[in-house]
């Protein structure tokens, strides 16, 4: 299936929603496993999003300008005895895309306008 220009896929919408929810709770940046866990908790799903689906979506979203990323300082990771994390952040374009997807469809608004009071 060919992707439409500027279309936000369901997995991308889910990532954006989970990221904004994390932001609301004070976590401005997220890494892959954290967002997968947040998405699972939000959707009350049994399984975490698969590696391939998640990281392909994050890669695509970064290329589309919906996210930015940076690699963690290796010293920080080494001090905590774990591999480096790749931290992602939702961009203004990402927030705008989410707001656009959440906005009611034009036909809904038209029906609302024409509905008898």
């Amino acid at each position: 299936m060919r992707r439409k220009q500027d279309a936000v896929l369901p997995i991308e919408l889910s990532i954006l929603e989970a990221a904004i929810e994390l932001l609301r709770r004070g976590t401005g940046e997220f890494y892959g496993f954290l967002i997968a866990k947040e998405m699972r908790d939000r959707d009350a799903a049994r399984l975490l999003t698969s590696h391939g689906t998640l990281y392909k979506a994050l890669d695509r979203m970064e290329k589309a300008g919906l996210l930015t990323s940076r690699w963690e300082d290796p010293m920080v990771a080494a001090n905590e005895g774990r591999p480096r994390r790749r931290w992602y952040r939702v961009t203004a374009a990402g927030e705008a895309a989410l707001a656009k997807e959440r906005a009611p469809a034009p036909s809904t608004r038209l029906e609302g306008t024409l509905a008898p009071s």
Binding site: Y31, F33, L47, R86
Partner: protein
């Protein structure tokens, strides 16, 4: 069990990122490494976590392969190969059914004490691996007819053996796939011989 799941995932990541540009390859490997660590650190290295890691690996394989094709710019070529060739569609259907079937059985067996982990691994990982070998064999048979048709035959026979109780469907289709796969490979080999060495 967790060590097996992590090893399997690492092996798969090494395989599908092999030959890519160093940036894309190293970043994907590092991200999966971090994910595996976080997963184990949060949930502990028990059997359930290990199964979850394997399920995440299996469900992500199609996305991993399409991501790789995007990185190498071969996605269009692969789709065209399948679209313009009825044998390609048959191979894709055969392998696709094995992937869906194997994954469904794998997920059902996870945590089922009567069927157990071994069954989940044979039907899930085994079926999945065989289907991948089959698809890759079909794809490479245009450039390397001998290697491709051997991989195609091995993958097809492995799927037929793993799902042996469905022999009445798999055996006839497998015979058609292998026979026409050989004919197709011979055609490519003849074409290559006529053209001579590059």
């Amino acid at each position: 069990m967790m060590a097996f799941a992590v090893g399997l995932t690492r092996s798969w990541v090494l395989a599908y990122t092999a030959g890519l540009a160093s940036d894309a390859r190293d970043e994907r490997r590092a991200e999966i490494e971090s994910d595996l660590w976080e997963h184990g650190a949060l949930n502990g290295s028990n059997g359930t976590t290990a199964m979850e890691v394997v399920v995440r690996l299996l469900f992500g394989v199609p996305a991993d392969l399409t991501w790789r094709m995007q990185q190498t710019g071969r996605k269009g070529a692969m789709v065209a190969t399948l679209r313009n060739n009825w044998l390609g569609l048959l191979v894709a259907g055969f392998a696709g059914a094995a992937i869906v079937f194997g994954t469904a059985i794998f997920v059902k067996f996870v945590g089922d004490d009567t069927k157990g982990t071994l069954g989940a691994l044979i039907y899930g990982v085994g079926g999945f691996a065989a289907a991948l070998v089959m698809l890759i064999g079909f794809y490479v048979s245009e450039r390397e007819p001998m290697r491709g048709v051997v991989m195609l035959a091995v993958g097809t026979l492995a799927i037929t053996a793993i799902y042996f109780w469905m022999f009445f469907i798999y055996v006839p289709v497998a015979l058609v796939v292998i026979a026409f796969g050989i004919l197709r490979a011979r055609k490519f080999a003849r074409g290559r011989d006529r053209l001579g060495p590059a």
